[in-house]
Amino acid sequence: MSDAPILSQIRTAALARRNWLKAGLASLGGLWLAGCDQLSNNATAIKVLESAEGLTRRAQRLVLSPGQLAPEFKPGDISPNFKANGSVDPQDTAYRAHVANGFADWRLSIEGLVQHPMKLSLADLKARKSRTQITRHDCVEGWSCIGQWTGAPLADLIREAGLKPEAKFLVFHCMDTMGGGGEDNRYYESIALADVFHPQTILAYEMNGAPLAVPHGAPVRLRVERHLGYKQAKYLERIEAVASLEGLHGGKGGYWPDRGYEWYAGI
């Protein structure tokens, strides 16, 4: 056919234009992605982005009165399967030994900047006044589960131990090692005094009416409602009152905060 070369020429030109357009869009997109990825790894850019955390913390402290409770639910609202996340079956030798003998030798130590350091057995904790609450557990990943928790209010224990005036935070040291690493990968978290003395902040030893199971942090986990799931430290063994978080592990006050997550986990 006589017009075939012209058609093929047009086709080639169209194809070239399309390829050029595709290449152009792809390289623009690639430039944008590379730019954002570079910013995401730039210390100054991260500092700027992190400044929003201080704003969020101050704004929430402003609208949240100290005693304001997180919403509580009815027994019928409890999740049929409460997802266990993070460590679900710690393999640490000391922890395995505690599981093997039913936590009979387990002691919770309250120490650091306190007047009277304490060592409490599970029975000691259970003998104290308890609080039961049905609350929503909000994971940073986006899901939520509702569960019932029974435990000893942290405020009572801390008043008993007596905080020294310079104490500003409580640090929760856990028995589980994340990702199988060494001491550096031991889970820990910390909270400010405003949350320590909140009525819903408890050391929970029961979940949904049964003793706390291993996937959920046996024998005792922290419940600090009004915060995300990673703040609810499991497998507790030591509570330390400190003046600053800087000397601990990565210095950001928690296993996940040391890895880029917000220390203030109200959002």
């Binding site: 997109g29 992605l33 954002c36 990825d37 995401s40 991260i46 700027v48 982005l49 992190e50 400044s51 929003a52 955390e53 704003l55 969020t56 929430q60 609208v63 949240l64 304001q68 409770l69 997180a70 919403p71 639910f73 609202d77 999740s79 049929p80 399967n81 997802k83 929503r136 909000d138 994971c139 940073v140 990943e141 986006g142 899901w143 939520s144 589960c145 509702i146 409602e225 009004r226 915060h227 995300l228 996940w256 890895r259 880029g260 997550y261 917000e262 986990a265 109200g266 959002i267």
Partner: protein, 286 residues
């Protein structure tokens, strides 16, 4: 007779150029555009940490409203699946499974070009998201406060009785891709007003409020939030839907800009000055 012709025929003086957007409107427009863009891409990265949507207070993992995941085919190959309610669609190459930088299919909710950062990183995506969320809120508050004060919203965006009557005609004009000229072009048409009002009064405030409902701190401060939206998980689902509503608005916004004259439209949102398109009767009346 269209509304455009009617206005042109009424004999009102039509300016050649019009100072359409105040400096504050222009600045807030661009900050808003940048914020929404970053919020969308970082939000999609955050979504990858739990690529399902649920209705209610807690996540019923066995009954998601929406879920995007990867399955294995008979030959072991990866298949991207998007599930909405009980129905599943194969979305390999886009949702659930897409190609990585070296062209190999990997299990991933969205393709890399749709997320910020391009790689999976919940902590960094949240940093981006909350910084620009504050920017969106402060910028939006400045826009609303100032433009309510100078009555821009009441005068130029709020619907008048004539606007409501003109809805059918405006729908026809939009379908025929006919854009107003002359005096009519100095005002927003009714569908345009509805689209802008939907963004500034429904979609963006809806994004912010459903976003706040996902915050355990804010739910303690304002228990009315989870009550209004039917739970944190429903709020998360609505957050997702509002986001795509804004994407839809953006697409229509771009199409309309191109159809109405991209140079003139872009110039007006950068410099404030809008050249009023001439109507045929304007030429005759000179």
């Amino acid at each position: 007779m269209t509304a455009a012709d009617a206005n042109a025929a009424s004999g009102t003086e039509v300016p050649d150029r019009l100072y359409r957007h105040s400096g504050l409107t222009r600045a807030t427009h661009w900050i808003n555009a940048l914020s929404l863009f970053v919020l969308l891409l970082s939000g999609l990265n955050i979504f990858m940490a739990e690529p399902g949507l649920f209705i209610g207070q807690y996540a019923d993992f066995d009954h998601p409203a929406v879920r995007i995941f990867a399955a294995h085919g008979a030959g072991g190959q990866l298949i991207g699946v998007t599930q909405i309610g009980d129905s599943q669609i194969i979305t390999t190459g886009f949702l659930g499974v897409s190609n990585n930088a070296t062209g190999h299919p990997v299990a991933r909710t969205w393709p890399t070009w749709m997320t910020l950062p391009s790689y999976r990183d919940l902590a960094t995506a949240r940093r981006w998201h909350f910084f620009f969320a504050w920017m969106l809120v402060l910028n939006g508050a400045a826009y609303l406060a100032w433009n309510t004060y100078v009555r821009h919203i009441q005068k130029d965006l709020w619907l008048t009785a004539e606007d409501v009557k003109a809805i059918p005609q405006s729908v026809v004009d939009h379908i025929r891709l006919r854009h107003p000229t002359g005096l009519a072009a100095t005002r927003y048409n009714v569908l345009q007003k509805l689209a802008y009002l939907a963004v500034i009064l429904v979609l963006v405030p809806g994004m912010v409020l459903t976003g706040l409902t996902m915050s355990p701190g804010m739910d303690a401060a304002l228990p009315v939030l989870p009550w209004v939206f039917g739970g944190r998980q429903t709020a998360r689902t609505l957050h997702f839907l509002f986001a795509w509503g804004l994407v839809l608005f953006f697409i229509v916004h771009m199409v309309e800009m191109v159809l109405a004259g991209p140079v003139n439209e872009l110039t007006s949102i950068i410099t404030g000055w809008y050249r009023v398109p001439k109507s045929h009767s304007d030429h005759g009346a000179a």
